[in-house]
Amino acid sequence: MTDLGTSPDEVQFRFRDDEPADHGTVTADACCDQTNATAVRIEPGDDARTLLPFLDRLALIEVNFPSFGDGRGYSSARILREAGYTGELRAVGDLGIDQLSHMRRCGFDAFAPDKPLDAEDAERAFSTWDNVYQRTTDGRRTIPELRHE
């Protein structure tokens, strides 16, 4: 296996208590062929749904953002969480402060930005929204739900 993915050392923010998976990440295509892979990295053009048959054995899925303006990874993340994936979902690549809150909402629970981010700014960013309008798999009660409790 190659060092395709990020190492746990490169993860700057993590919202999980389990041991971070080491790299050894394979591509989405290779994951389908390699029955023992436990960590995979997907690119913006990959169909996250090809991973669905293998979710049980995956401990880490990295979603690469080569450019922060390419939002396909947000859909990939939600699709994986909607399918019941509970392992680490790591956003890697060109991540900025201003993408963190939305990424978190889409199911990412680990972040490995290319360039380390200011920790104080990041903390503020993660708590940008006291409440939210949309239902995602992050378990938050939405504003429409809170209104009708």
């Binding site: 396909r72 889409c106 700014d121 949309q134 798999t137 429409p144």
Partner: protein
């Protein structure tokens, strides 16, 4: 109209703080301009030719007089005393300083307004029928559905970095007053078997590749409206082209996949989404609806005293039939002869606000044709209203006439433009007003864009003008036969382009052809559809 609750207010306040923080990080050098640009765009802040431009959202074009007054005050305090109403029912300030932007957003937040998602590759402000809740011909008021969509689309975590901008319009009448089928998603609220639901049209748009949206589903149950929209967006976010910004709109995806394949993918995603519980609780729509309940209409006069011909002309031209027979909707034209289409001074904006308070249950609408509507005016108040409007230079009796043209800001402001639109609009309205031809021509929708991006809707004009750059000289292409209404069609280019003087003469010629050959009751568009392009070409080029 809709009132924020503490949650809505909290979201807007949070956004102001977020933007303040972004501006701070930009100034501290923590954000490069490339990183900052999409963030400021998502707060409506553009860098134009001479200054920053701030675009303020007016959800589905509805606002109250306090909000309108605030818009006038901001024009005076932070701009050069003007606001410019846009074709997506918003308002732009063209002379803004970056350092004032956060303060303006804070001023807006005080009256439940914002500039959220008025630009950027995200879901933009939801637009709607400007006569919603007032028109005699609507099935229901479309605005509760638009409000539901507004909340859903605000800060949507999955759809903030789409391939390209995304525009949604919602209507609820057969008559389309919102160019619904020229939007990324057009929603028509319809009735089927005694139930209300939504027909979805997806993949329309103007720009350099104009397309009319095909209907992909004739009936989405109302308790699945958001779920279906979410499915449409997810397919687009995943598969819309990102290799070429000119091919990135959803219309290209729908066109390249074909309507049937796109629909199949949406239906598949929809079936999946229905298991995800993304739809807001049904009670939410019921909570929203009463905000749009009818005001307390009173029975009154059903007709006006027509002894003043100027007033009678304005009533004929600028009022629209209301669902209550003692009321009309009154259109305030922002197209005075020789004026800049869509512009109003701070003082005029405040006057319109006062008149709305006095005569229209505190409510105003912005039209996509860059005018303002007082939706509920008592027929017996019309003369007093008209008198006040006329005194403020807001009484032009020209709705839907050739003088009521749409024009983009063009090369006078816009960094993208190839040619000027405003001077052309001014000269055409002066010319037709002076010759008295405007009246004879009746309904004639002229739309002018200063570049191929088509912000002036030239593809949808009965007569369209597109400014291009030809070897460093402004050149104008003429097109005929477009419509943004329920009979949506795309205009066809007449032939070689014209100089600025030449295109004004060309407009004159095509209107002469129409006047010569029109049959009873035909509009320009009807005549064009009957006789085709040839007679017009002959008049223009032979």
């Amino acid at each position: 109209m809709y009132k924020y609750d503490s949650y809505d207010q909290q979201m807007v306040d949070a956004r102001v703080e977020e933007f303040r923080d972004q501006a701070r990080r930009r100034l501290e050098g923590k954000l490069t301009e490339d990183q900052f640009k999409p963030l400021r765009l998502m707060n409506g802040l553009y860098l134009q030719l001479h200054a920053y431009m701030l675009r303020v959202a007016i959800p589905y074009g509805t606002l109250n007089s306090a909000q309108m007054t605030a818009l006038g005050d901001i024009a005076d305090k932070y701009d050069r005393g003007y606001g410019h109403f846009t074709t997506r029912q918003n308002l732009q300030y063209n002379w803004i300083k970056l350092e004032d932007a956060a303060d303006i957003l804070a001023d807006l937040a005080k009256v439940e307004m914002h500039a959220i998602q008025t630009s950027g590759n995200c879901i933009r402000n939801i637009s709607s029928d400007h006569f919603a809740g007032a028109a005699h011909d609507e099935l229901v008021d479309p605005r509760p559905y638009a409000e539901l969509l507004r909340q859903w689309s605000s800060f949507h975590p999955e759809f903030t970095y789409l391939p390209r901008k995304f525009k949604i319009a919602v209507i609820a009448a057969e008559k389309d007053r919102a160019a619904m089928r020229l939007h990324d998603i057009g929603i028509q609220i319809v009735e089927k078997d005694g139930k209300i639901g939504a027909a979805f049209y997806v993949g329309g748009g103007m720009g350099r590749t104009p397309m009319i949206a095909p209907m992909i589903r004739d009936f989405v149950p109302l308790d699945q409206l958001i779920t279906y929209a979410e499915a449409c967006l997810r397919v687009y976010n995943r598969y819309g082209r990102r290799d070429n910004k000119y091919k990135a709109r959803i219309k290209i995806l729908v066109h390249e996949l074909g309507k049937d394949e796109y629909t199949r993918q949406v239906e598949e995603e929809y079936a999946h989404m229905q298991q995800q519980g993304v739809e807001p609780p049904r009670e939410e729509l019921e909570r929203i609806k009463p905000f749009f309940a009818d005001p307390a209409f009173e029975v009154g006069a059903k007709s006006v005293d027509r002894s003043d011909p100027d007033f009678a002309l304005w009533v004929d031209r600028n009022t629209h039939r209301h669902k209550h027979d003692s009321y009309v909707s009154a259109v305030i034209s922002l197209k005075p002869v020789g004026g800049i289409p869509g512009d109003a001074t701070g003082e005029q904006i405040r006057i319109m606000a006062r008149l709305a308070q006095q005569y229209s249950f505190d409510e105003l609408r912005i039209m996509h044709t860059q005018n303002v509507v007082l939706p509920h005016v008592k027929i017996e108040d019309l003369h007093a209203l008209w008198t006040a409007l006329d005194a403020a230079d807001l009484g032009a009796p020209n709705m839907d006439s050739i003088e009521d043209m749409i024009a983009c800001p063009g090369l006078d402001y816009c960094a993208l433009a190839n040619a000027r639109s405003i001077p052309l609009a001014q000269r055409i309205s002066e010319k037709f007003d002076a010759s008295g031809k405007t009246e004879k021509l009746g309904e004639l929708k002229l739309k002018i864009s200063g570049c191929i991006n088509a912000c002036g809707h030239h593809h949808a004009g009965h007569i369209g003008i597109l400014g291009v750059d030809r070897k460093g000289v402004e050149n104008y292409q003429l097109s005929l036969g477009g419509s943004e209404a329920e009979d949506t069609s795309l205009a066809k280019i007449t032939g070689p382009g014209f100089t600025e003087d030449g295109v004004i003469e060309a407009v004159e010629k095509v209107t002469d052809v129409y006047l010569d050959v029109r049959e009873d009751g035909e509009r320009f568009l009807d005549t064009y559809r009957r006789i085709g392009m040839a007679p017009f070409k002959e008049a223009l080029y032979d």
